[in-house]
Symmetry: C2
Subunit: 456 residues, 2 copies
């Protein structure tokens, strides 16, 4: 084991440079004009897996971006872990808020800044490199390992989702547990295993008023304005106490248990520090729940985008024809995204006035997730990160969604270990996304220790 | 007179080509990067005035775009008319909705399509050309004429406004009436003199939530979303019956007189036809008033633009830092834009939650206007257009604003004649703006007849 850790230490700078190459490929899955980048990025990952000593490495075609697969099954009698990650990244706008070009990784103050440095290129890279270190030193791994790195996580993993439902593919991915690093640590230097994730239901509303943009002077007062009407609809989705007003929305929400409330209490979360870090006078959310309960165990509704009319500098007196909004809801056990999408659509159409045409689209969704804490792999994850960071690991839930986690759990009948290496302050999905070099390094050790712990 | 009309007929095609040259200069006053175009356009207009035989033609410097002035004072003892127009145009977005390039005028089905073809290059051009025809045929005009063509009407005429308040300038512009063609005809082929205009108060709201864009999964539920909050604020500006909820807003609104209600009735306006033309199931506006009352005599509130978060195709799970909206109100006598701006700002700030930072800006405004129907120039306008179109002229009010009209009225103590040549269906301020060639031609005659009628 020391040899492996030693090797990881020696090669840290090389690994950092390879991560920069990985980052340099602008693999934005949400934007159609990045198709070629997606393919290039998949090829880069498969090259990495081959170099790490993986067998049967291949790009698996899908209706969208390819999946990258690789395996090493040389530990008969030992458990098999499937390591999942994604090579696609979020869009980069607004570009002018980046201090450095998003795809030219910049190391500063012990952090690497770039789109994907953290989510998820940096976090999934640690496992590839930990495996490589094992193979280059010991020539083998203490457990069997399979890799599955996808390219559509940021747009809902629709094709991987289909892939997992196929009988043959389930055989290919058969495993005893799934290991994923795509979540956050509770705090700087605090090793964290997450046992829950929120689900997602991402909708889009488009309102059409008059059949063309009109002069707001010549027509104002005679016909409904789609922006005003859209605002009224959004205002009716949530009340001033943060309660979502969609009928039946809370019906399947699992109550926060007493044990969880106590666990949350023990984490001594500071609203004040959090508000200060976000530079808001006061936090806001569903009344009657603490901030961590709202983030981990309660559903939410957020407008992710809105646009209509004249949005450049200056003034244009237009009464626009169209206005649209992207609205997503975070879900918790036991809410179902399809059901929520139906509830949302029905309610929004019911409150839309007859003066406008309305279209409601279900863009994508994912189920929430909840894991058993006593599982062998979950415990191995806690022990491994504790060794790497030299501190007892804490168990948390996540506000974010990895829709596919649920599918792994469901289709492969395997528990999922969420070994998060990011921090909520790392600006993932925002300008100046970054990954702490300390977490990159200790992530490499955590992964290596995991294989050892899991083999016991 | 016949010579003049004959000359206008002969030269119609030349005038149309010169209008195309006028249009080809993309003089968008709202966008800073068109500064040079504004100057080029002003020079084009001064060239036209010289060619029309005007004296003392000059560009007058302002803090913004230059004013173009020219005069012919060779009719002692006769009244003096000041002709006002503007050479600046609206922005052209969304570009993809234009059938032809907005600054390459295209003649099709008896209409000329281009930004500014109607508002206001086409409409103010008829007066320059009518004057030219008089000078080239009769060598003189039956009345004294002054031209003042500005370049900031679409952004509020702020600098002309200042210009008019100066004593020397008032001497320069001294006149018995002001003639403006920048409004709409009541219907196709119906000569129209407008006796009222609505005012404008154009505001902008910007909300700031967290200090950066956040991942809506990791942070959703913990902090207020500026888009959701902006929607709630907009929803509180107007109720479902179209009543504006800003305190004191209606305090100075002049009641619609019985005579006006009767005049409106006599115009036999068809809601059904209007709704069909705009392709809306039903019209919407302040309850208790007819469509024409709402358009002409009642104030309104419209969002002209809104933006926040991710607005491209696809999905991005972001909880944005900022959201903003442009909101304008149309005013009627005796509302005052500055007062309304204060009322709006006070109310909006009072309903904004403490969870977000709010900034409210007063972008620009203009007073409403109301003219005496028995005035000599107003009657001359009605007689002239009736001759040109061969039909009795009707009197209407306009929903739109020409803020400067009020200033002319106030500073020059002269009545303003609004001789509209556009139609509400001409897409001014929208893609595929156009001007009917018939109205261009009869507008030329109307202007020529006006000088004759006004000299009587």
């Amino acid at each position: 084991m020391d040899k492996v850790i030693g090797y990881l230490k020696e090669n840290f700078d090389n690994y950092l440079n390879e991560l920069k190459e990985f980052i340099a490929i602008p693999s934005i899955s949400a934007l159609a004009d990045h198709k070629k980048d997606m393919r290039d990025c998949a090829k880069f990952v498969s090259g990495q897996l081959k170099n790490a000593g993986m067998k049967n490495v291949k790009l698996i075609k899908t209706a969208g971006n390819p999946l990258v697969y690789g395996e090493w099954m040389g530990a008969p009698g030992k458990p098999t872990v499937l390591i999942y990650g994604h090579y696609d990244v979020q869009p980069v706008d607004p570009l002018d808020l980046w201090d450095n070009p998003p795809f030219e990784a910049t190391v500063k103050d012990g952090k690497i800044y770039a789109r994907g440095a953290n989510d998820n290129k940096g976090q999934c890279f640690v496992h590839i490199k930990a495996v490589e270190a094992y193979m280059k030193t010991e020539g083998k791994l203490p457990v069997n390992v399979k890799f599955l790195i996808e390219g559509e996580e940021e747009v809902g993993s629709g094709n991987l989702d289909k892939f997992l439902k196929d009988k043959e593919n389930k055989k290919l991915l058969k495993c005893d547990s799934v290991l994923i690093s795509d979540t956050s640590m509770y705090d700087e230097g605090v090793p964290t295993i997450s046992y829950g994730l929120r689900g997602l239901c991402y909708m889009e509303i488009e309102l059409t008023g008059p059949n063309r943009d009109l002069h707001s002077g010549s027509f104002g007062g005679s016909v409904a304005n789609p922006i005003n009407e859209l605002a009224k609809i959004i205002a009716k989705l949530q009340n001033d106490k943060g309660k979502i007003l969609i009928p039946e929305f809370y019906k399947n929400v699992r109550k926060v248990t007493k044990a969880e409330k106590e666990n949350i209490k023990s984490l001594k979360f500071s609203d004040k520090k959090y508000a200060k870090e976000l530079d808001v006078k006061e936090l806001f959310g569903e009344a009657g729940y603490s901030t961590l309960e709202r983030l981990w165990a309660r559903p939410t509704l957020d407008c992710n985008g809105i646009v209509g009319g004249f949005i450049e500098k200056g003034a244009k007196t237009v009464l626009p024809s169209k206005a649209s909004a992207k609205i997503s809801m975070r879900l918790v056990p036991d809410q179902d995204p399809k059901t929520v999408a139906k509830q949302f659509t029905k309610y929004v159409k019911s409150i839309a006035p007859k003066y406008v045409k309305i279209e409601v689209k279900d863009l994508h969704g994912g189920n929430p997730f909840y894991a058993p804490l006593d599982d062998r792999a979950v415990q191995a994850g806690a022990a491994a990160t504790a060794k790497a960071f030299g501190k007892k690991a804490v168990f948390t839930r996540e506000g974010g969604s990895i829709p596919i986690v649920v599918e792994f759990n469901k289709q492969l009948k395997a528990p999922v270990v969420l070994m998060g290496l990011g921090l909520d302050t790392d600006n993932i999905h925002s300008p100046n996304e970054h990954f702490r070099l300390e977490n990159f390094e200790k992530g490499l050790y955590s992964s290596a220790y995991f294989f050892e712990e899991y083999s016991k």
